[in-house]
């Protein structure tokens, strides 16, 4: 017989911890749920996602759509009528999948949404457990494929910042270089998303972590050190970039709706 049995069964939430162990999972639950609700709502709007040279990151790249940012023209004819249409739905699965399979978020939402465990040394609601050893969660191992896509998205969003530097003068119709608050919002978003993506555990492994004698590959050693440096704060970058991307969408949306006016620095 082992210790746990003599010391009594552990039921859901049972613990001898005396600190507020439920605060952190509750905060994760709240912020992640709020983000998912907002992102879904924003993705289904199909309007107010551009303002001047700004494009909401939820809609970028706009493969098909009605705005001037669309790559391949308007909504394709083959889109099934029963499926809600939005340019965001075409692309959001990629960054969504990237975050869903991120090592940091996995650990966080297994605790906050699935109570597996609710918090360290706190009793769980279920006896059975498969972890990530078999289906369905073994699919989490596809994280590096989402990373490849996320790196492409990072390039696209950087290009969006470049485009957000060029404003059309409504009077003359000429394009001028300029910086608005919206440009800074989009640039901050890319900076934070970049720090999050480039500190990814899979990237850290791919650039150098998989090699045991990195001293023989100096360029990869440098890349590994950079990725490791960002990786140490991966959790902070994950939350900061999550808030930034939602805020960037909100900013563009409020400007486009006329609720907020974008301030041009020059």
């Amino acid at each position: 017989m082992d210790g746990a049995n003599v010391l009594g069964e552990r039921n859901f939430g049972r613990t001898a911890r005396r600190d507020a162990w439920w605060v952190q999972p509750l905060a994760v639950f709240g912020v992640l749920s709020a983000f998912v609700v907002y992102a879904t709502w924003a993705a289904l709007q199909t309007s107010y996602y551009t303002f001047g040279p700004y494009l909401s990151p939820f809609y970028s790249p706009e493969l098909f759509g009605d705005s001037a940012h669309a790559w391949f023209g308007p909504k394709p004819g083959w889109w099934p009528g029963w499926l809600p249409w939005s340019p965001a739905l075409l692309i959001l699965w990629a960054p969504g999948g990237f975050r869903l399979t991120c090592y940091y978020y996995r650990g966080a939402y297994y605790k906050a949404f699935w109570a597996d465990p609710p918090s360290c040394a706190v009793g769980e609601p279920r006896r059975s457990y498969w972890g990530e050893a078999s289906l369905p969660l073994v699919i989490q191992n596809a994280h590096r494929y989402f990373l490849y896509l996320a790196l492409l998205f990072l390039c696209v969003l950087s290009y969006d910042v470049w485009k957000a530097l060029w404003f059309v003068d409504p009077a003359s119709g000429e394009t001028h270089f300029g910086i608005g608050v919206g440009t800074l919002v989009l640039a901050t978003n890319v900076m934070l998303l970049g720090s999050y993506t480039l500190g990814c555990h899979s990237l850290r492994h791919l650039v150098g972590g998989r090699i045991d004698r990195l001293s023989q590959a100096p360029a990869r050693l440098r890349a590994y050190r950079c990725a490791s440096c960002l990786n140490r704060r991966h959790m902070s970058w994950a939350w900061a970039s999550l808030v930034a991307v939602a805020f960037a969408d909100l900013y563009v949306r409020l400007c486009a709706m006329g609720i907020w006016s974008d301030w041009r620095l020059f």
Binding site: V6, E132, A133, H201, D212, R232
Partner: protein
């Protein structure tokens, strides 16, 4: 001198209960001192394992107010004494008596790990050369004092009792130290997946949180091992890439 109440688990595999003991706490005391005082003054048969009282032997692991800790490194002034302080044995392991548990399953699990195998010596005198930057990464893992607090807090062992399927964070740290060693030529990816059950870890980082040696267990040992398993077992692109990659010298990095 203030007094504190200790709610200590007393019993063995046939059963037991928590008993309250009041004792004085002086400045600078750690929980292990208080347990020793209770033992000296009130219950001489209280079983407690300890050795160094310096956080280096890893013997005095227990659960203080519900969290796995070294009793000799838990200072009394970190704990509120307005309510009883619970001290109980590690829950993930079979109980022997009072605060002492049987941690031998960890030693048996270690024997299942493919041992270190170095490449042929680099020099004629039978010695090897290693670059500092290559050993930096595994240095952290060598700080482990085998206190098994990480094994105790890990819910896969603690709650789900999967000791046979999952070797646990301490032993994954050991595998990482072997796997990433610049001289070692074995690959343990397949056994990590099948024998050691690395997939059971759901990266919730409780092990990292309790490690008294501050080893970054999840981020620096377990996740890199998971990535190596992905390389070998779950990533068709990497496999394809390896087939078409030009052959390298046998001792090249890899």
């Amino acid at each position: 001198m203030p007094t504190a109440t200790f709610r200590i688990w007393r019993g063995d595999i046939t059963g037991g209960k928590f008993c309250d003991y009041r004792t004085d706490v002086a400045e600078g005391m750690v929980v292990l001192d208080a347990i020793h005082r209770v033992q000296a003054e009130q219950v001489p048969d209280l079983a407690v394992r300890w050795n160094c009282k310096a956080g280096k032997c890893g013997s005095c692991s227990a659960e203080v107010n519900g969290m796995p800790r070294l009793m000799c490194m838990t200072r009394m002034n970190q704990l509120p004494i307005d309510a009883p302080i619970t001290v109980e044995p590690m829950r993930a392991f079979p109980l022997i008596k009072d605060l002492v548990t049987d941690v031998s399953s960890n030693y048996r699990a270690k024997q299942r790990i493919t041992p270190f195998k170095p490449r042929p010596p680099d020099a004629a005198d039978g010695t090897w050369r290693m670059a500092q930057e290559d050993v930096d990464r595994i240095q952290e893992f060598r700080k482990c004092i085998e206190c098994f607090l990480c094994q105790d807090v890990c819910h896969v062992l603690r709650e789900h009792r999967l000791h046979e399927q999952f070797i646990g964070p301490r032993l994954l740290v050991h595998v990482a130290a072997l796997e990433m060693h610049p001289l070692d030529i074995e690959s343990r990816a397949e056994e990590l997946r099948t024998v050691h059950g690395v997939g059971y870890c759901n990266i919730t980082k409780c092990c990292t949180k309790v490690c008294p040696e501050s080893i970054t267990i999840t981020d620096n040992a377990i996740i890199p091992l998971k990535e190596r398993v992905v390389d070998e077992c779950y990533d068709p692109l990497t496999k394809l890439f390896r087939i078409f990659r030009p052959a390298r010298a046998p001792e090249a990095p890899g």
